[in-house]
């Protein structure tokens, strides 16, 4: 049931990524020349990491061969990630700006952020937010290590069940809440049987698409919707300052977990490489569909779609934030981005949208995150191994949020009041 269009395209796109997309003038392009693709070991360009998830032996060939057979990262892959990230952010921003439920703070907080921010002094508030962050990050670390251990000791059924439970919760409960709030905002009269039917259909199709088989675009759409729902929950339930500190801390954690030799995510990636298995494919947004039966089999076992608040989130979080390139029998390569990245990007942009009437801040954060993602993919092309997707984007996003909110906003407001243009 997986759409297989991308396999046919892959053969062409392997050698002509940019070309297949652009109607460039002849003087600036070369025709597709098969010889050229074999003669340039030095022009390493954007080779993805040597993790192979196909049925072939691991360590299947020297680097030169890899380069011939691999799709190069190119502008195409960057855009293939820009589009879903943008869609997710658009959904979150649209919801935040229209449905007031997600910006109302009624004192309810997650159990992972027990310290309240309704204190009198700035110092106390700062302290509480730092403590909240420490608790949240420790929960995430513990859960990630737990997941890595489960994976190492092959407790696949446990992981499988856990992920199904969390995606059930997301697809049914959170979407029911979301639908309810949208109806309240637009004052739509609705009856329970209709809602039951809508949610049942939405959830059931989502579970099938994500955990079993479905058209690639439907699966991608569900992943985007789920990430957006999760981001909205975070925006609602994380206190103001804690959210910002958590965003910063999680980028640092991501960096450590993926790059340090003993980091849980790195161990996960290496274990998956040893076993020649894909890393929780459905927890990750992938731009291409799996083609081989081997892959499909792996997918069925392990195709989870989970992003849910409580225990599961932190764990999967680990994998979700790792980049990896995966290769199946047809040498089809795509770029994958973890759903945790989607979620935290959307949290940042959503929080920027939630603060006040200003759209400039939202726009600035959006552009900053996209540029960060672009740079991350550039680094991925250079280093050719799993990289954390959060640090650069979140750093840019945070810098631009605070500077636009405090510096640019008064400047632009003054200019607009006088109608001066720069």
């Amino acid at each position: 049931m997986n759409t297989s269009d991308s396999e046919e395209d892959a053969c062409n796109e392997r050698t002509a990524l940019v070309q297949s997309e652009s109607p460039s003038l002849p003087s600036y392009t070369r025709q597709n020349d098969p010889q050229h693709s074999t003669t340039e070991p030095k022009r390493v360009s954007v080779i993805p990491e040597p993790i192979t998830f196909s049925a072939r032996e691991p360590g299947h060939g020297p680097d030169g061969e890899d380069e011939e057979l691999t799709l190069k990262y190119g502008a195409k892959h960057v855009i293939m990630l820009f589009v879903p990230v943008t869609l997710c952010m658009v959904v979150v921003v649209a919801t935040i700006k229209s449905v007031s439920f997600y910006t109302e703070k009624n004192g309810q907080q997650l159990i992972y952020t027990p310290f309240t921010e309704d204190t009198n002094s700035v110092g106390q508030r700062l302290l509480n937010s730092v403590l909240n962050t420490i608790i949240m990050i420790s929960v995430i670390v513990v859960m990630t290590i737990f997941l890595v251990l489960l994976y190492k000791y092959r407790c696949y059924k446990f992981i499988h069940g856990w992920l199904i439970l969390s995606s059930l919760m997301l697809l049914f409960w959170f979407s029911y809440m979301y639908l309810g709030e949208v109806f309240k905002t637009y004052n739509v009269a609705m009856d329970y049987p209709t809602v039951a039917m809508i949610i049942w259909n939405f959830g059931a199709v989502g579970m099938i698409c994500i955990h079993w088989k479905g058209p690639l675009q439907l699966q991608q759409a569900y992943l985007i919707v789920i990430s957006a729902l999760m981001a909205l929950v975070f925006i609602k339930y994380l206190p103001e300052w804690s959210a910002w500190v958590i965003l910063g801390a999680i980028s640092v954690y991501d960096l450590i977990a993926v790059l340090c030799p003993k980091g849980p995510l790195r161990m996960l990636v290496e274990t998956a490489q040893e076993r020649n298995e894909p890393i929780f494919p459905a927890l990750i947004y992938s731009c291409i569909s799996f083609a081989s039966d081997e892959e499909a089999h792996h997918n069925e076992d392990r195709a989870e779609e989970r992003e849910e608040a409580e225990p599961q989130r932190p764990t999967v979080h680990g994998q979700n934030r790792s980049h990896s390139v995966e290769e199946d029998l047809e040498e089809d390569r795509g770029v994958k981005l973890g759903l945790g990245d989607f979620i935290f990007y959307s949290v940042l942009v959503g929080k920027a949208a939630a603060t006040g009437e200003d759209w400039n801040t939202t726009l600035a954060c959006f552009v900053a995150i996209l540029i960060g993602l672009c740079l991350t993919l550039l680094l991925l092309a250079i280093f050719k191994k799993a990289l954390p997707a959060l640090p650069i984007s979140i750093t840019f996003g945070l810098v631009f949020y605070f500077s636009t909110d405090n510096l640019v906003r008064p400047f632009m407001d003054n200019l607009a009041a006088h109608q001066y243009y720069i």
Binding site: N12, T15, A16, L17, V18, Q19, S20, E21, S22, P23, S24, L25, P26, Y28, T29, R30, S37, R43, V44, S45, V46, K72, Y73, G74, A75, K76, V78, I79, F82, E357, D358, W359, N360, L363, A364, V367, A368, L370, I371, C374, L378, A381, F400, S403, T404, N406, L407, V408, P410, F411, M412, D413, N414, L415, A416, H418, Q419, Y420, Y421, I422
Partner: protein
């Protein structure tokens, strides 16, 4: 009024630019990336100029309206100059990134020429500049509200939309001329671009007398359009061939392989 004004002003301000984007840039991932990078560079220039303005405001007398206005004018001029500096910086970066780009795109020659890059980066600058100028105004135009209730101009929204349109297109033309001037070392052209940007911004100081700002701006726009067209290699002959669909290069270029 409100929805009509919102949609009308949005399409006035962003229509041509969006059409340019969809027809010429959206299909090519590389161009999209450079567009967004251009937008980022504009954003950084705005950030720096806002920082300087903010610092000067903090040090000044906040009660004196004349001083604040003077500082704002200073901020505008500084911002314009910084934008041009960042345009130059982007040009330098693009030239330096040639090899990296070659590696990424698996080609022996650049997959995207410096002229296309100038067009794309100018549009990126323009999009961001236009967006920052007008998005808040557009969201206010959804309403409810009354325009100019305190005696200000009734034409605030529509004039903002037209000004934004001019600015976006101007950025694009400026970038084309700018990059060409840098390539050919024509420093006078460069200076003229900077001066025309300054002129357009300073013309807006006469707002709300829109005749004084909009009309000259559009005159400058048409002059820059012609200049950019000739910089990009256009001639009357080319134009005629293109319009009568006899230009073989143009037709071939749009023929997509596969």
């Amino acid at each position: 009024m409100t929805a009509a004004v919102f949609f009308g002003c949005t399409f006035i301000a962003f229509g041509p630019a969006a059409a340019l984007f969809l027809l010429t840039i959206a299909r090519d991932p590389l161009r999209v990336i450079f567009l967004i990078a251009g937008a980022f560079f504009w954003l950084v220039s705005l950030l720096l100029s806002s920082l300087v303005w903010f610092i000067t405001v903090q040090m000044s007398n906040k009660n004196s309206a004349a001083q604040q206005k003077g500082l704002l004018i200073f901020g505008v001029v500084l911002s314009v100059l910084l934008q041009e500096v960042f345009r130059f910086a982007y040009y330098k970066l693009l030239k330096k990134a040639n090899e990296g780009l070659l590696a990424i795109s698996q080609e022996d020659t650049m997959p995207i020429s410096i002229r296309q890059l100038s067009y794309v980066s100018g549009l990126g600058f323009g999009f961001m500049s236009g967006a920052f100028s007008v998005v808040n105004i557009l969201s206010d135009s959804v309403g409810p509200g009354t325009v100019g209730i305190h005696g200000d101009s009734q034409h605030y929204f529509i004039s903002s939309a037209f000004m934004t349109l001019a600015i976006i297109l101007l950025h694009m033309f400026w970038a084309v001329v700018f990059f060409e001037a840098c390539e050919r070392q024509k420093w006078w052209s460069l200076g003229t671009v900077v001066l025309s940007h300054l002129l357009v911004s300073c013309l807006t100081f006469v707002n709300p007398q829109y005749e004084g700002s909009l009309i000259p701006t559009y005159i400058i726009l048409s002059v820059m359009a012609g200049w950019a067209f000739s910089c990009a290699g256009g001639t009357l002959r080319n134009l005629k061939l293109c319009l009568t669909c006899k230009d073989k290069d143009f037709l071939l270029a749009n023929h997509r392989p596969r």
